[in-house]
């Protein structure tokens, strides 16, 4: 075993200790009634509740609703944002037109717009999907725009002199050159999409993880509240791990 492996071993070991210690402290604190059980249920009861929700299918139903909303919104935001970003980078009029809107929209707290989305698109899924789109589209526009501006002129000139038209220049030269940057932006935007979905469900109801979480809190079903928070944490971790793996596998060429 070389020293690097020893280091990662020790690291994994300490990480595991740290997490187990956290869970043990939680369990003990709850068992000796540091706080009433309604405020801090023991970990074992939360785990049992999690198992129960998994078996009776409520968790799967809520999770699939939330994930479908989040990823529909993310898909729309990525599609729209990439197209707008590319157009902005290549066309001065569009840049002039869209740039101030992006500058104003990017730092604004998008969750404040939720009453407008409810008013326009109802309280069901559509308003949430579009709110997610709205929340995620600005970083995608900015990321794609700056990536497309940074594409080497040589590539563009070569493609043009070899006879490619505007459309195939976009499709075969500029867009592929932007892929790594677009993916990095996508990785930033996915948590934003998840947060926006969960928050929108908490505020507006209409099913999903957030809605069930807030109902459980109102009826003081603390084990369910904790179980759902644990699931949301796990979702965030899994999604990020999947994306990191994808990035390592398919976008290796961008590193060098």
């Amino acid at each position: 075993m070389n020293s690097a492996e020893v280091r990662t071993d020790a690291f994994a070991w300490r990480s595991a200790v740290s997490i187990l210690l956290f869970i043990a402290l939680w369990e003990i604190a709850a068992r000796i009634h540091v706080a009433p059980a309604i405020l801090l249920p023991p970990f074992s009861i939360v785990a049992a509740q999690l198992w129960h929700s998994t078996l009776d299918g409520t968790l799967a139903a809520d999770l699939s609703i939330s994930l479908a909303r989040a990823f529909c919104g993310l898909a729309l935001a990525t599609g729209g944002g990439v197209v707008l970003g590319l157009l902005m980078a290549r066309n001065r009029t569009i840049e002039w037109l869209v740039d101030p809107l992006v500058a104003l929209g990017f730092p604004s707290p998008k969750i404040a717009f939720i009453p407008i989305f409810i008013l326009w698109f109802g309280i069901e899924s559509l308003s949430k999907v579009l709110l997610v789109t709205f929340a995620c589209v600005f970083p995608v526009i900015i990321g794609t725009y700056s990536a497309a501006r940074a594409v080497s002129r040589q590539f563009i000139w070569s493609a043009l002199s070899l006879g490619s038209n505007r459309f195939s220049l976009f499709l075969h030269v500029i867009l592929p050159a932007c892929y790594p940057r677009i993916f990095t932006t996508f990785r930033i935007v996915v948590p934003v999409g998840l947060i926006t979905t969960f928050t929108a469900e908490m505020v507006a109801g209409g099913g999903g993880m957030g809605a069930t979480l807030i109902y459980s809190q109102r009826f003081f079903e603390s084990p369910t509240v904790f179980a759902y928070i644990v699931v949301m944490l796990a979702v965030g971790l899994v999604v990020d791990a999947v994306m990191r793996r994808f990035q390592n596998r398919f976008l290796r060429w961008a590193e060098g």
């Binding site: 869209v98 730092p107 404040a112 407008i116 965030g236």
Partner: protein
Amino acid sequence: MTKADEFMSSARRGLVRVAPLILFGLIWHIICATGLVNKDFLPAPGAVAAALADLFKGGEITKNLTITLFRAAVGLVLGAACGIWIGVMMARSRHFREYVTPIVGGTYSLPKSALIPLFALWFGIGNVTAIAAVFLACLLPMIVNTYHGVVTTPKVLVWSAEALGTGERELWPRIFIRNALPDIFTGLRIALGFSFVLAISAEMIASTNGIGKLIFMYGENGNYDYMFAGIACMVIVAFLADRVLVILTKRLLVWHESAVTEPETRRR
């Protein structure tokens, strides 16, 4: 170029930049004036402006905005202070880093607004819940960015300082923290955005006041021009806060190359 010329050219540039927004407002006005959409669906810009003026006159905006900004600011300041401290500690001590990393990694991907119901359970409805949510949301980007900034300090800088007789204690404020400053400000900008989002979310979910509650209340009661006015006000405040932070960052980091190169890459 004289001072007056300079002012004129920058004013013209500003006008060119704002023109699309004015155009956007005009289109909005025309859509409303022609009755293309229901007035309840989309109040005219004039009506929204009147509602905004009314809200200012009645003091609703100033009162609730102060509450929201107070919650966001307290959470942001506490989160930034603790975040910088934890980030520095992680870079300083290997043991601390190895025990803390999994907890930071786990909470980093947790949607922080999911904790609002839990905080509401613990701390009740009001200031503490909102501040705790903002604090936690601001803490994570500050930790990650501070740590990154300290760890990427070039060895050359450390060696030079040591060769010139800087002691271990002096090294931290003079070399490591200073090298991390651009990253810390990047984290601060992210945290600033989070602070508004979390303060408003917390107010919508568990509060009786604040601008988030105000917006939501007008929406539920059907006072849509007032609802739009509240949202417009929040957008403007968030935009201004972000601008102020960017300008401040540029002022404070004049010595750093990031302050010089940024505008050139934008205007190519």
